[in-house]
Amino acid sequence: MLIPHPLLGLRDAQEFTYLGDATLLNRPDPQSETADAAFHDYVYLRDNPAGVHRELWFHDAGDRSWLVVTRDTTTHEILGAELARDVKLGITA
């Protein structure tokens, strides 16, 4: 499986480590009144879609960047990859 690294081009998935759902980037505010419920959902609940899924991959044996990879879980087709930093900062979609 090849991952299209936004800076380095196509790279073998062996260079990466998978973390999980990209919603992990959206950490709830621990100061909010609903923090308990929000953290319960954040830590334990995940969608498990059959189809397009956005997930976090770490370029472990490369430039050590975190990527948000969009992958179709039914075909394993990789539809795109962005730097997680850019996603978090709202620089890309």
């Binding site: 800076l7 062996q14 260079e15 472990d60 044996a61």
Partner: protein, 191 residues
């Protein structure tokens, strides 16, 4: 006073080198290294006349100094022949706004040189799972070789340098040595 003798990463008193077929592998024990990271959204500084390279590249050598892109806003600065110097201090004297860490004894450098670029490409085909464009002349990138995380530097077409973790020096040398021996055996069998 204690009389200490410095040892190389491979446990010898002198750098190792070996000729196998058309290739020469040389250990470079004289490479000073420091990592340089700058805050996001700042302009990369020019360091000893070196314009810090873009992703996947390394600079040409100026007075034995060169730089490798390692990550967004991060580079590895190298000074050949200066491993005994405090490389981080050297860099710190030139840039104020940067996070600089000495890396000299963290890595081993093994240079493989050959007569033709084709021979180096043939070796890289066996060693790294990367498209040829990622290891063209002027490129430097990090990847896996035999489960070791290694920088592959291609300063010239007939030369490639592998920067590997110092603790895995023996394993990395073994990979290069056995791959080249195998290549020599195969070319002998074919001719």
């Amino acid at each position: 006073m204690t009389d200490l003798t410095p040892r190389t990463a491979l446990g010898a008193t002198a750098a190792r080198n070996e000729t196998i077929g058309a290739y020469l592998i040389e250990e470079n024990t004289e490479l000073g290294l420091a990592s340089v990271a700058i805050p996001a959204e700042t302009i990369p500084p020019v360091l000893f006349g070196l314009t810090l390279p873009k992703p996947g590249h390394l600079t040409l050598e100026i007075d034995g100094k060169f730089a490798i892109w390692t990550a967004p806003n991060q580079w590895l600065f190298a000074t050949d022949g200066d491993a005994h110097q405090d490389c981080a201090a050297l860099v710190k004297s030139k840039i104020a706004m940067a996070y600089i860490t000495e890396q000299t004894d963290a890595w081993v450098a093994f240079k493989v040189s050959s007569q033709t670029s084709g021979q180096i490409n043939t070796l890289l085909e066996r060693l790294v799972n990367l498209p040829e464009t990622a290891t063209d002349t002027g490129k430097a990138t990090r990847t896996n070789i035999h489960h070791m995380s290694v920088f592959v530097l291609r300063p010239t077409s007939t030369q490639v340098t592998f920067l590997g973790p110092r603790t895995q020096a023996g394993s990395l040398w073994h990979v290069l040595e056995t791959t080249l021996r195998q290549q020599r055996a195969n070319s002998g069998a074919l001719s």
